[in-house]
């Protein structure tokens, strides 16, 4: 829990030497040393984020004590799913998609160019699953039964949710294995590092398969809401749309997160990395642009396939066009122009637009165009406590991310003994 900017070069150098951990006692002492905050504590970010986090924790206790409904959330019988599922889980998982896309590019296609950002991305993906998907514990009403789909008495193999639950769980394991070499390097465990490194490709392939299935599975959850979702959004192909959009959603978050990380943790990076970074951004922008280009045509085909064209000329139709043109077409064009002119500012702005579009899209399915015929006055709107708990979870994740990046070789170069050979 350190001030983010004040990780001094000296500490980094000191960290360059790996600890010598021989037994549990050594590990405990090392961990105690690592848990101590570093740098300034009273940074603006800390001062703003800490009260929000603490307030969120208090509200979490309220939610557990009083149930899921008012005053904590505005969920009701018409809108069983709100911000926690729609944003924390469904959108959060889409944003975490960057991890599997980059793993595919780096480990399967062996595009070494993107190797410098793989660790931060995988860590980000893993933490996103841990925290945002973990937020599902708050949202499910009977949370003490959460282990039921895993070791319960009744496996609902007929359910999409059953697969999503299992895939979440297994993917978290796969992402942990993908990231674990970094942890081994942090602890200075050379043999473990070697064993875990050898498991990477298996974990990556398993992880990509799982990601494909649960990214689309989140869309498949809405399949039986056929009578409730507006025909412009409901199609038999929701799972495929979710999968394709998770590619550019994830990469946009990688661009966004990377641009912040580079400011905050920039001193940890060597010059070569800095030089390469713009090149990496341009590459990511190209991938986003091409995927979004394809996604647009999928949308167009489905519009015709589902006989939904006549709905375009209605209030809902304008909302649909707002989403598709404003947050798919425009960022797509911006990615292209940004990549061509090597203008990272344009690329970063396009990434933010894309992320807003993904949030809109996922919230559309969970509550905006879900039950679209319900009058506006009766519609679900997130309650203040819901928003604060969500913010609290995100900020906690950022704190953990910062703690790990400051201590483990995530952005900085791994110790000399562990330089990977490909």
């Amino acid at each position: 829990m350190a001030g983010e900017k004040l990780e001094t070069v000296e500490i980094v150098k000191e960290k360059g030497e790996s600890p010598n951990i021989k037994n549990l006692g050594d590990f405990w002492n090392f961990l105690k040393k690592e848990l101590v905050p570093r740098g300034h504590i009273a940074t603006p970010f800390n001062i703003i984020s800490l009260p929000i986090m603490l307030l969120g924790y208090v509200f979490i206790v309220l939610r557990l004590a009083y149930g899921l409904g008012k005053p904590v959330t505005n969920l009701n019988q018409e809108y069983p799913w709100g911000l926690w599922i729609g944003f924390d889980v469904v959108t959060g998982v889409a944003f975490a998609g960057g991890a599997y896309v980059l793993c595919f590019i780096v480990y399967v296609l062996r595009a070494e160019k993107y190797h410098p950002i793989i660790r931060a991305t995988v860590l980000n993906g893993f933490l996103a699953y841990l925290f945002y998907a973990g937020a599902i514990v708050l949202d499910i009403g009977r949370w003490w039964n959460i282990y039921n789909p895993m070791i319960g008495n009744n496996f609902g193999v007929n359910a999409v949710m059953f697969l999503v639950a299992w895939h979440f769980f297994l993917y978290m394991l796969a992402a942990l294995v993908e990231f674990s070499p970094t942890i081994a390097e942090w602890l200075g465990m050379k043999r473990l590092r070697k064993i875990l490194g050898a498991m990477t490709l298996g974990a990556v392939i398993f992880g990509i398969t799982l990601s494909t299935l649960h990214q689309s599975g989140l869309g498949a959850l809405m399949m039986m809401a056929k009578s409730k979702i507006h025909p412009l959004w409901y199609t038999d192909f929701i799972p495929i749309l979710y999968f394709v959009s998770s590619i550019f959603a994830g990469l946009s978050l990688v661009i966004f997160e990377g641009s912040i990380s580079h400011k905050v943790f920039g001193h940890q990076l060597d010059e070569a990395h800095h030089k390469h970074y713009d090149d990496i951004l341009v590459g990511l922008a190209r991938i986003c642009a091409v995927t979004m280009f394809g996604y647009l045509f999928l949308k167009a085909i489905l519009l015709v396939h589902e006989h939904a064209v006549p709905y375009l000329n209605s209030a809902m139709g304008f909302w649909y066009l707002f989403e598709v043109i404003g947050f798919i077409l425009i960022p797509c064009l911006m990615f292209i122009s940004g990549a061509q002119q090597k203008n990272t500012a344009t690329i970063k702005f396009a990434a933010i637009l894309t992320m807003v579009g993904i949030i809109l899209n996922r919230l559309n399915y969970t509550f905006i165009v879900y039950n679209w015929y319900v009058p506006l006055s009766e519609k679900y709107w997130p309650a203040p406590m819901e928003l604060i708990i969500t913010a609290s979870i995100i900020l906690t994740e950022v704190w953990v991310f910062r703690w790990m990046v400051n201590r483990m070789p995530v952005l900085r170069k791994p110790p000399a003994w562990a330089i990977e050979k490909h």
């Binding site: 009403g141 009744n154 392939i205």
Partner: protein, 298 residues
């Protein structure tokens, strides 16, 4: 169990109601034990319903729900608005102004033949019983996907309880197992509700339509809707006038998730194979070079 037997049972139910004892216990369905091979359900004849809300009262008593006030003055007031079932009301009577005057319509779980809620449940807390009832169990984790997947918006969640449940009509499953009629059927004073195997009630519905073609429209709601339901409705006016959705289609709801679910095992086999293949194909020629060198040496 034939229709005549049923009418007898219904008759005795009315007698029970008339003496003020709404729920006389121990009334048996019939001599035969109910066959587990068939779905049981209720035929609702909306032309017979008088909106007395006794079914609401009977249901609340049996299921331990807050007991509603069903005095006439209260009813008059209450029926002005269209209500929905809730976490404290498994069954509801609504009044609709139609071309044929006021029509009362009881609403509750339709007990679909292929229920969406059952297909959506990841722990099989929602179950379709062999005798047709859709019931809920305590191993539920409270994800509320059943609420999203129900075309009739029936499962309700207790939002204001620390230990919440999903609440919905279970067609008095416990009473069925004891050979007793569902509470709502037993207390109905006008025989607007008829309990029986789906085959029986469907036949009875068709018989009534054939006998009174002017009275009924020629459509039994639930015969084909969402793949068929165990609750069937007769009406004198088109169903959209009495609060039924006509756009639900005849496809069983679980069918909508087959596209994804059937694809999962295929992806699980194909993806690893394809990716291992790509990984092998993009392998730097370093090893190949070594091979070459080795070959040249030999």
């Amino acid at each position: 169990m034939d229709r005549r037997n049923f009418l007898k049972i219904l008759g005795s139910g009315v007698a029970g109601a008339a003496t003020g004892n709404l729920l006389t216990p121990g009334r048996t369905l019939a001599k035969e034990t109910p066959s587990a091979k068939e779905f049981y359900g209720i035929l609702v004849d909306t032309t017979r319903c008088i909106g007395c809300r006794r079914c609401e009262l009977g249901c609340a008593e049996v299921n331990g729900l807050p007991v509603p006030d069903i005095s006439e003055s209260k009813n008059e007031n209450l029926l002005k608005t269209i209500r929905k079932t809730s976490d404290t009301q498994y069954t509801i009577i609504n009044r609709y102004e139609t071309e044929k005057g006021k029509i009362f319509v009881p609403k509750r779980c339709m007990h679909c033949n292929q229920p969406g809620c059952v297909a959506a449940c990841l722990v099989k807390a929602m179950r379709k019983r062999p005798s047709g009832q859709v019931t809920w169990d305590l191993n539920c984790i409270g994800c509320r996907l059943c609420m999203i997947s129900c075309p009739f918006d029936i499962p309700k969640f207790e939002y204001n309880k620390a230990i919440p449940r999903i609440q919905k009509c279970n067609l008095c499953y416990d009473r069925y197992n004891n050979g007793v009629l569902p509470a709502c059927v037993e207390v109905c004073p006008t025989q607007a509700l008829m309990f029986g195997s789906r085959k029986q009630i469907l036949e009875e519905g068709k018989r009534r339509i054939a006998a009174n073609p002017d009275k009924y429209i020629e459509h039994i709601y639930g015969e084909y809707e969402v793949g068929g339901t165990s609750h069937l409705y007769l009406s004198s006016v088109p169903f959209e006038q009495i609060g039924f959705r006509k756009d639900l289609g005849t496809v069983a709801y679980p069918k909508y998730s087959t596209g994804f679910l059937y694809a999962v095992p295929f992806i699980f086999v194909l993806w690893p194979i394809v990716m291992l293949g790509i990984n092998r194909a993009t392998k730097k020629s370093k090893e190949d070079e070594e091979h070459h060198e080795e070959k040249e040496k030999h």
